[in-house]
Amino acid sequence: MIALAGIESCKILAEFLANLIPGGVVFGLVDKDEFVWVKASDTFTIDFFTVGNKLSDDTTTMCAIHEKKVITQDIPRTVYGKRVSIISIPVIDDNSEVVGALTIAFPKLHPVAAAFEDFAPILAEMFHEGAFLYMSDLTKIAYRQPSEKFDMPTISVGYELDKTDIAYRVIHSRQPIIEEVDASRYGEPLNIANYPLYDDDNRNIVATLGIVTPKKTAVTLREMSGNLENSLEGIAAAIQQLAASATVIHSNEELLNSDINEIINISEQINEISAFIKEIADETKMLGLNAAIEAARAGDAGRGFGVVAEEIRNLSAQSKSTVPKIKQLTDIIKKKVSEASEKSVRSLDASQGQAAASEEITASIEEITTMSEELSNIAKTL
């Protein structure tokens, strides 16, 4: 308790202390139930602490006066619009009668909030792509700290939280939230982590602390690995088509080979027929020669018959002359066909090589696909 005689000294002391105490302070001197003197620091005031204001009996100060002892009390936000701690010291006269009180009010600040200005600028620069740190009280943004690489200009101090904001949801769910936000909301993909901060006795949430980090690299990586997977799928499909056409080529070549063999058979048959033609021609020739001999033996009477014999022999000679021509043609057919057959065997080999190569490529692609899936998984965890 303070003696009335010492009160002037206290007032002088308070004048000095007011702007020295971090966070600010308000001193008020109460005579009976009325503020008679008030000293506030530049950064912190309470409107109610005004000379002339009367105090009701339920205030800390009046309780201290009635109970004649020093009382310390935390006053919730609902009373003065901000959380404050109030200490009231009764003032007594020479007869030890309580005549008033000296009341000191401090802003009540969460330790994290108190330290925000110290740690946030450092922490913000410690992220690869930069970070944006903020603190909210229960309704609005109270502190913000952008980094050199990353800022969220729309989130200013005083910004009112709405129910889509993560801080709002943390306050109402009483759970920390770590969430990815896609580019539709803030123009680029973000990772937002928000934790609730409790008061001294860990009962009530009084604030939240949030860290926002851009996810550009991770998203780019994920997109790339997605693209990679798509391309690989395309390649795999193309290779399958390739393998399928190799199979078609293979069966075509086999058909071609059997066709070629058939052609060889047919040209053999043509040769047989042409041998038959030669035989007939030989027979006809002999017939013609015999007819000529017969005509000669018949003398003049056989003259007409001799002409016929001559015609027969001519006919036979003509027929016979076709035989080597046919043979020549069938020889050419056989030669061409065997060339074609050789080529088809070669392309059969090539198509088999192609099938083998495309199997190898498929195996490689599968490996790469597996790797890109892993890559994609890694990108998701970033």
């Binding site: 002999m286 000529a292 001999i293 033996r297």
Partner: protein, 145 residues
């Protein structure tokens, strides 16, 4: 200007001709030729041609040529040498031609004698030389030995 009709055939590479009057017919060489014992090597054997037995000779052996394989074109030329039938094996009967007598060069007795009078002359047609067989001489040589 009289002319001559010849049956032309081949023995090896050479062409021979015989007057058509000596020829009776041309047939394929029969599969069955009956061999006869104790005959000169140029006698192939005998065949039965429509009821008549005909001796077959290989003229190339008779003429002392190298024996060549018989081909599908080989034929049997049946000669009618004054009612004696004789078959000669030839490589190919190529044709029956009519030539003018002037085209035939008759060998002198000396040259003809060197060949045992088998060749009586040579017929020249374009670039071809056709040796002319003496039919009568053949008969005496082959059938009356």
């Amino acid at each position: 200007m009289s002319s001559l009709e010849l049956v032309v055939f081949k023995l090896g590479e050479e062409e021979y001709g015989i007057e058509i009057g000596f020829a009776q017919e041309i047939i394929r060489i029969p599969k069955q030729i009956t061999k006869m014992p104790d005959m000169p090597s140029y006698i192939e054997g005998v065949i039965d041609l429509r009821g008549r037995v005909i001796p077959i000779i290989d003229l190339k052996i008779k003429f002392g040529f190298e024996q060549t394989e018989r081909s599908v074109d080989s034929r049997l030329l049946i000669l009618d040498l004054e009612n004696s039938l004789l078959g000669i094996i030839v490589n190919d009967v190529s044709e029956v031609i009519k030539i003018k007598e002037q085209a035939i060069e008759i060998f002198s007795a000396e040259i003809s004698g060197l060949s045992g009078n088998r060749i009586q002359g040579i017929a020249r047609i374009d670039q071809r030389l056709i040796l002319l067989l003496n039919g009568l001489k053949m008969k005496s040589e082959v059938l009356m030995k």
